[in-house]
Subunit: 275 residues, 6 copies
């Protein structure tokens, strides 16, 4: 089911595109005319966001029918029909661009995530996203990461504790910063560390997760040996498809990848109308 | 000046990230503590969106000072300081991610646009964007294209007439579709064509712009010769940095590039706090 | 179909009128009681806005049935039943005033527009509206003008270029102002002129439409002769039902009439309940 | 002071007109250029809404200065300067139309109200408005009536009890309908009557106001004699400037006039920029 | 029927609780699983707000069925089943807390009101609420008072005139303050008085209701004797279940009780799922 | 600093109370008149929400000055002046009720929380709130708990994992339910248990917190002995000021108390104007 928050995003996007009306369609298309459309994959990718795709059409016109042929998480191959849409033609034409803009982005994110997940296959490592999402679409970006096989780091500043260098500096030390957080009884605590000395201090504070931020692979290796399973470790910074397997091999628990959502290549999907 | 619409986008993005509060910062940072930050380029790119970057901090706390050192449209080199921020530290930390997410995207779009503009330098061709923007951020995406030296195609379905294949089919012919649009006295009319036969018909209808959609370079060349300056021509579909100069050389007036906004690589910018 | 924007207008208007509740109805009418109503024309007019009228009742209570007997654009004669409403009586009573306020205004606008259209019958002239609409209701005002046989000038400042004296003065000359606008590739350009000298300059700039603003009929005649079909002409200012035929006779293409929407006499419609 | 509700109306109206931007002004006017403007009366009228006029400019740009020369309730004569505006020129141009649309309507309402008030001068009769206002602008319409010397009837369905024929019919009789309302201890009760028999029954129920709806002057005279000051009387229906003095002479306490707000002729005001 | 205003309250409350998603339920419950629940009284109380309770579930998922067994205004005994809910289990779990928070508060208010109503049984006294409600929930709080047998004082500052000491002081005297209000023809006027001298002045001004504010019982007795039925009297301030019968015995018409809504003990209701 | 979310609550509450205008004040108070007010404690309590109190006045009129004399978390004694307000008198009068309604509730919650905190003094036990808050005011309710010395349990369903009986039943067992949650890497996991058998299972699953729900004191004692510090324990259900010390003595880590926010007695505060 589509939540109210996602409906709001879709409605906003439709209003942004349609504004005071699709003047081309109004002039040429009989407002009662029916139509059909198919969403076709023009390359191979992981499908994500079929419910968002469908809801965009229904949001504009609740009588539109959308039939999903390939579900979230499955792979579409070039030429595959992912969904069939039928209903009022004017409304299908007006929702088309928004539906694709949202859907192509989600498929793009899921596909890219799945490449990272595949690259670390065989290890216990989980691929994480970050807060480097497109403003306004975070819940969709994070949903696409999950569909692609990744896990979500905290959604925002409100649902996870991540002590960064500025917090540490302001508090005086990692130890003091962690102590300050202990007032929040039900949140795990993660601390960002830049070097082995900081990893040692964080370990002493008994935090739940230690982030190894922008460390070289040898330094991260040292950290893994030092911690030796006593707490969870997250590698972060300068991760790419080229080096992710090497990082995973070190033995960290999580690898977070900003690129999953901040630099998205949309999947190539085409809506063929009356095809 | 920042319009109310852009302020709304920023407020929404801040609410999305901060939610019920930045629990880490609340626990570690004295709410009265002051701080400073600099935005540093970590690669070369075209700066775009400095007012959006600044407004994000001011939106959270109107007393924050933001000093812009490199203006929209100018190039930042790796290591350049683009802006200085000073004010309440907690508020700077809470606005940081949203300010960067918006700014990095705009710089990324402007930079990519400028690559296309440069590739067609020496011709009269204008690079255009499309409606393939991220839902909710269209006005920022389109602003970044302009800053990068491109021109905006219509903003949405409401402020431009673009007759596509479905409109043509529903109306019966290009001629009938154009006739239907003539009722709108103050809008230019563009028609999408797939082949030379359609170009000929559009030309006869005296439309303002003819889009050559997904045509091969030889076919486009034929269209340019045929039209011979009697109307404007827009090349569209499968444009890349590799082929854009070749397309420009044909003699079209506009080349539209979906990739400018639909598959954005964010510029690499870092906010160094208390640096 | 009623767009989301129109639904918002209706919901806002209902909230404005009903506020925390219709205290009279709550105290006297059994909340389950059913009722019927008819909308009766109390004078002759052009019907416009039947879907808005119907939606107002449905917006408050989706189970209300509204049966339209006279459609948009047709003439109602005094005594004609335009629509039948049936459903929950309390809800009909609570929606009544808002439904009529919106509907009567639209019928009033369409009727007045149709008088102008009739006055220029036999010429090629199109009657245009302006941006002198009631704040908040522009899309309804402009829809009513279309139903009455008029055409819409630009909807707002965003979907049409109209270079006025202040733009000309700021740019230095008509020529410079037009040159500045050429950056927007897909919009037609209209220039406001006050005298023949300005018409000449605008003509040289090859603009799409020239507005003859507040000119005398002889001056407009001179302009028509001068332009001689090379561009479109819009007469504007001090137009009335008395002089519109004379202006049309000159040979301009458009006549814009602020009065259509800024000084509306509502059509007289009565809702008879349980009649 | 301008309330939050009025600010919302103004913001909405600005957004409606400006949309994604004033493309003409953006292309021709230097965004830093300053300008001045004066609002000039082009006919005689009662000024109403100066604060709304001023707020429209400030709402778009809080640095705009607006200097009011003729206050609400005073008469402007043709040629009078009502207000001076100075600030950023682009913002003045963008707010111009909305400021005038709101201001001209309020002045039109106040002026028309003052004609009715003048027509009943010398009697104790108060002129009342109705709920026949333009959806969305009721608080401004009602404010303009007060400025013009009229009084406000109830604002909406929530702040006054008016028992109409449908309530009477549903309750069984005037007596029963009034009894049902007595549960609301702090509201006055008005009953709509169509004939002398109903006036008699309402009088017996000890209601606070009796509306004489659509009665002839002789019938109203009979009602006044019958009631003889024991309760307040409101004449309603078919009131015009022609007959309002005659109705007032009968001795009713209030005369309500739908025309004040439902069929408004805007006052003629011009904004001269850089004059 | 549930008004749009109440739906807005419910939607806001659901968004407040669910935020970006019920992470526990999402991980454990099959999103297609069906479930049933019963709302059980865990003490004796007056039921109020069944429609709000039902709408909360339907608001999240319009396919949820809610069957009400004990209607508003009736007494539930410990152990009674008040309502049955069935539908999608995840949605029932997510709406549970909000539905209870709203319903328990309304039942608590109605129950407490009914205690006051019972305490004055046998007299003509009506129990009134005040504006001391929880911000955002006033319409629900006031509805619960009515269900509990009380009457509503004015809803807000806009639908009733209550002249308090500050108004009197600013106007100069009770007489002047009342005279100023007479401009509003359709509202009753209430004046707050602190002593017999003020009661006398208010009486002379012929106001509709006199509030005896924070007076001792002997002073109120004196006021009742003095007024002798010529106007209505409301006792206010320091009313409790202990003294309300004594105050009623004096012969006032209304007793207003802030405690009804400002210090609410929620009724104890439990939602048993799959019971 | 007051967040945007809190400002929204305040604005909504002001709109709810003021609606279309404070008709009493408008008629009696000169809109330019200045005034002063003091907030006086009429009983002893813990102050909470001074910034909310101040913002309510400023929200209506940003020129109002509010001077806080007793800060959040400190005790006010009967007769103490907590704050001084000065500015436009009409605006002070219109904001008064909303400011007090919000402030009195927060002080009431903080005071009641402090009683519980005091009752467990000398132990390590932390007092927790629940999600039984008033819909719409949760962030204020939870802020007041913190000011009173309590800690916040999760804010909503989105920022904490609490596995309840329905989740357990749906998953099959505590073990399966916990396993399902492990996919969320950064959240602590709490499990609700009803008896010692369930405590044992939860302990085996290595959860972060075990809730002892509605258990008798001897049963809880058994659980404490069994767990023996290996995980955190939260006592929940039927907690009162009478038994909280006994529960604390058992050795649990947290005691959650629904009553803190669901059944609030407002603190008694009076705003004396021009005193």
């Amino acid at each position: 089911m589509i939540s109210e928050s996602i409906k709001k995003i879709i409605k906003y996007a439709l209003a942004e595109d349609i504004g005071t009306g699709d003047i081309t369609t109004q002039a040429t298309i009989n407002p009662r005319k029916k139509g059909r459309a198919i969403a076709v994959a023009k390359e191979d990718f992981v499908v994500a966001g079929v419910a968002v795709f469908a809801e965009t059409f229904k949001c504009l016109d609740k009588n539109t029918k959308v039939n999903i042929l390939i579900d979230d998480g499955r792979r579409a191959k070039k030429g595959d029909v992912i969904a069939r849409v039928s209903g009022n033609l004017s409304n299908i034409l007006q929702a088309e661009r928004v539906a694709l803009n949202l859907f192509q982005r989600m498929c793009g994110i899921a596909s890219h995530t799945s490449r990272y997940v595949k690259a670390v296959r065989g290890t216990e490592v989980k691929i994480l996203d970050t807060r480097k999402t497109v403003p306004g679409l975070r819940i969709l970006d994070k949903m696409a990461v999950r569909i692609g096989g990744g896990r979500n780091h905290r959604i925002g500043l409100y649902d996870g504790i991540l002590i960064k260098d500025n917090h540490i500096e302001a508090a005086g030390s990692i130890t003091d910063a962690v102590k300050a957080q202990r007032k929040n009884p039900f949140m795990k605590i993660e601390v960002e560390t830049k070097n082995i000395k900081e990893v040692k201090e964080a370990l002493k504070c008994d935090v739940d997760v230690i982030m190894l931020d922008n460390m070289s692979i040898p330094t991260m290796k040292k950290a893994v040996d030092l911690v030796n399973g006593r707490t969870l470790l997250e590698a972060s910074g300068n991760v790419s498809l080229e080096n992710v397997a090497d990082i995973a091999a070190i033995g960290v628990d999580y690898i977070s990848v900003g690129e999953l959502t901040h630099s998205v290549r949309c999947a190539d999907i085409s809506l063929k109308i009356n095809a």
